[in-house]
């Protein structure tokens, strides 16, 4: 009887019979070469599809792909996969012998991947084949009986077919790139949801339609349950869990749904959070989702020296504009900021715009997806997809960082993003114009021509006078909160000689002090006659207030403004360069003949806040910067009708929690 059925099956599938009885052609015997070829065919557009008979079952794969496409229509590999399906011959696996071969093949494969070869071989092989036939509930005795019994149940037959092929594919997927593995995890989650749906239907419809509907539901339930369990086990394998640990993974039958979802989320996080080791690279793109809500598209590589390179790919378009010039400009800007892209522990990072040649030289799985960028010739502000040809470096860097998934941190009210978290601390994502110059070490080279004046000052040892000299040309005044008391008198400038300034250098920037008021050097500059024209910024005490205390406050506050002035200036022509200051400065200026160099060290430790840096190097890992992510997702949301942002964590008001900068 068994032999008869077996013969009938073989007669029905002559091509398959040949393939299964010839070990070299058995589609379930997987070699590394098979895996490599299929991975390429699966994800690599440049590799032509293999001509030989494919390993996939059209039906099983169509099913798998259809689920995936419904859920993730943008997955990169699916179109290619569907095209491939059209050329497939059906492959079947339905006899005891076939499944024994499957058992051997998969066991061999799994064993080759494991450290405890024998133990895992038995564990997985038995378990998988057990699933083919009887699902989770079968006992070893039942399994043994099944192995020696004919398969005469039609539903089971279909499940076996699907499951065995799925297993074979899953085994291959173990070597798939991150994106593909990720899709398996997504598929598992999807199948879990589907299982629950079918379960509901099963319970209600089986009562009414016990024959047709019930059988259909039962079949799908079985299929989904097995898929979930197998995929979950595969997830466990991917993270090098021990056999015992895998055996402890929640089961769809015994554990609560939340436990399974939790393990899947953890597994997904573990996949996405795999730390980069030197020489390794990850492509980060939006098909893996985005912890911040902004779609990232880049490739990050950890170099052998431990530094990180963030590679971006831009597809520029625009008419009447010099695209190569903008590309060069972007590269120059990225180069300029290199010394200032530091992590919280001093790690280095560089942004890099890939050229066509560099892209071509990269392995397929290290090529980041392109970012479309429209270029305009006009002077308008950029966004990550829209650049003016003369964009400033601060803008270019800000927009480049959006492509790594970082969100805006400035007040989003104008755009309707009223729930955005807005740190008080300066950040490249909140105010690139002011943050950028403060994050770079700069050197200003000045012409210091006059021997008796400029050179005389800097050859001398009056440090207060030197400081005063490089703080010229910009107005200094107290904050608006002092407006009631203080103002700059532009109507009565004072003309002062160098000698007069020298005489009061010990108390600079104080100009004059009386019982009721105090004046500072608010605005002063050098005239052509080498005298100083000074506009005093005068603060008067308020009526009935403690004047002495007020004057002390005015002095303290103005001194802060004076010391904090960032635009140090030259007495004559100047050029500015960006240069990493390697050693702590003993003096912020250096005179070399007629050239005076003024050093302006960066005020900020890094162009990137600590959590921004961590977010970039972590790719799409959902657990590396949880506080940052929880706040970042609010960047493009609006308040509800009641004026609230329900669910927005209160900690987003803390700069330290959000961007990692102490308040």
């Amino acid at each position: 009887m068994h032999a008869l059925i077996f013969s009938l099956i073989l007669m029905s599938f002559p091509v398959l019979a040949e393939s299964f009885f010839t070990p070299g052609k058995n589609p379930l015997f997987l070699t590394d070469e098979d895996v490599r070829r299929d991975v390429n065919a699966f994800c690599d557009k440049s590799t032509p599809a293999p001509k030989e008979k494919n390993l996939f079952s059209e039906k099983a794969l169509k099913y798998f792909v259809a689920q995936e496409q419904n859920r993730f229509p943008s997955l990169r590999c699916l179109d290619e996969l569907m095209a491939k399906l059209r050329t497939l011959d059906p492959v079947d696996c339905g006899t005891k012998r076939n499944c024994l071969q499957a058992k051997e093949a998969i066991a061999t494969y799994l064993a080759s991947m494991s450290q405890s070869r024998e133990k895992k071989k038995t564990y997985f092989a038995d378990r998988i084949v057990q699933q083919y036939y009887y699902g989770q509930k079968s006992t070893p005795a039942e399994f043994e009986q099944a192995m020696n019994s004919p398969v005469d149940d039609c539903n089971s037959w279909k499940i076996i077919e699907e499951q065995s092929l799925l297993e074979a594919n899953m085994a291959k997927m173990k070597k798939f790139p991150r994106t593909c593995l990720n899709s398996i995890l997504s598929s598992t989650a999807y199948q879990f949801v589907s299982y629950r749906e079918w379960l509901k239907n099963y319970e209600s419809e089986c009562k009414e339609f016990p024959v047709d509907k019930c059988a259909e539901h039962a079949r799908y339930l079985q299929s989904y349950r097995n898929n979930i369990r197998d995929l979950t086990a595969l997830v466990g394998k991917s993270y090098h869990l021990s056999d015992d640990e895998i055996a402890c993974l929640p089961s769809v039958d015994t554990e609560s749904p939340s436990a399974l979802i939790d393990i899947l989320n953890k597994a997904k996080a573990a996949l996405l959070c795999e730390a980069l080791t030197p020489g390794k690279a990850h492509v980060v793109d939006s098909s893996e989702g985005s912890p911040t809500g902004v779609s990232p598209r880049y490739m990050i590589k950890k170099e052998e020296d431990g530094s990180y390179t963030v590679n971006l790919r831009m597809k520029m378009s625009g008419t009447g504009v010099d695209l190569p010039a903008l590309e060069k400009r972007i590269r120059d800007c990225y180069k300029e900021i290199e010394p200032f892209m530091k992590g919280p522990n001093g790690e280095s990072m560089r942004l890099h715009l890939l050229s066509a040649e560099e892209l071509e030289a990269l392995p397929q799985d290290q090529r980041p997806p392109p970012n479309p960028v429209s270029v305009t010739s006009e002077d308008v502000r950029a966004n990550s997809q829209y650049y003016p040809v003369n964009a400033a470096c601060s803008t270019i860097v800000h927009e480049g960082l959006h492509l790594t998934g970082l969100v805006d941190e400035y007040d989003g009210t104008t755009d309707g993003y009223t729930c955005r978290a807005t740190p008080k601390a300066s950040s490249i994502m909140s105010n690139s114009y002011s943050h950028y110059p403060n994050s770079e070490d700069k050197v200003k080279d000045c012409v210091c021509a006059e021997e008796n004046h400029c050179q005389g000052i800097f050859k001398g040892d009056d440090e207060n006078l030197k400081k005063f000299y490089v703080r010229m040309y910009g107005g200094m005044y107290l904050a608006d909160s002092f407006e009631k008391y203080c103002d700059t008198d532009y109507d009565k400038p004072i003309e002062m000689t160098l000698e007069q300034i020298q005489a009061m250098s010990a108390t600079l920037p104080l100009l004059n002090e009386t019982e009721k008021s105090v004046s500072f050097f608010g605005y002063y500059f050098l005239t052509k006659q080498n005298t100083f024209k000074v506009y005093p910024h005068t603060c008067n005490c308020g009526e009935g207030e403690d004047c002495q205390k007020q004057i002390a406050t005015f002095k303290e506050e103005f001194n802060k403004v004076y010391q904090g002035k960032s635009n140090l200036t030259c007495p004559g022509e100047s050029t500015t360069r960006v240069e990493k200051i390697a050693q702590p400065l003993t003096s912020p200026w250096k005179l070399d003949g007629p050239q005076l160099s003024i050093y302006m060290p960066a005020k900020e430790k890094s162009l990137l806040a600590p959590t921004q840096f961590q977010r970039i190097i972590s790719g799409n890992c959902p657990t590396s910067t949880p506080d940052y992510d929880q706040c970042a997702v609010w960047a493009y949301r609006a308040k509800d009708a009641s004026g609230a942002c329900p669910g927005k964590p209160a900690m987003c008001d803390s700069d330290f929690r959000y961007i990692g900068i102490p308040q």
Binding site: S384, N390, Y433, Y436, M472, Y473
Partner: protein
């Protein structure tokens, strides 16, 4: 009914076309607003974009309405176009805003309360009409004017200079390639080439 029609027409004839350009992003937000009514044509801006040789910011009036009538007509036309399109969109439960491609930040035009983003059908027309208006001759009424040679920043009120203060590019502006940005307190940002 006749009274209603009359009132509608009357209201329409008094309706001022107000188009605002705004370019959101990190830090300073450039804006410019042009209003056209029967009585006046005005411009208010906080950045000298498109005209980096015109170092003024503030509120302006159009110098000669008659010689600018063609440009004004285009401006009014596009204003109506956007309003009419919005009505059609609203009838089908849509709006310019809803249809706009999602962007993190960037430029847009606001025609009254209607926001038109790049990629919208009317954006290019709006952009051309708005910039056409900007290129006309404007007289600064209230605002500031910088004279780099004289190192002076003048404050104007009602078209007359009421105050002059020293202004040095070296100290007042952040020099960043390819141009310097000078923040003028209470007025906006001057962009210098």
């Amino acid at each position: 009914m006749k009274i209603f029609t009359f009132l509608s027409l009357f209201t329409f004839s008094l309706h001022a076309q107000v188009i605002r350009y705004v370019n959101t992003g990190p830090g300073f937000i450039p804006e410019a607003t042009i209003s056209v009514s029967e009585k006046s044509v005005t411009l208010k801006r906080n950045i000298n974009f498109l005209e980096q040789d015109n170092l003024t910011l503030g509120s302006y009036s159009l110098k000669d309405r008659e010689s600018s009538k063609d440009v004004i007509k285009k401006f009014q036309h596009v204003d109506r176009l956007v309003n009419e399109t919005e009505k059609v969109l609203k009838a089908s439960g849509q709006s310019h805003h809803k249809l706009a491609p999602k962007q993190l930040h960037g430029p847009r035009y606001e025609v009254g309360s209607i926001r038109v983003y790049p990629g919208s059908r009317e954006y290019d027309d709006l952009d051309a009409a708005f910039k056409g208006m900007l290129r006309e001759e404007w007289i600064l009424q209230d605002g500031v004017k910088v004279d780099l040679k004289a190192h002076e920043l003048s404050t104007l009120k009602g078209g007359s200079v009421v105050r002059k203060i020293p202004f040095f590019k070296e100290g007042a502006c952040d020099s960043e390639k390819p141009f310097a940005q000078c923040e003028i307190k209470g007025q906006g940002v001057l962009s210098l080439q």
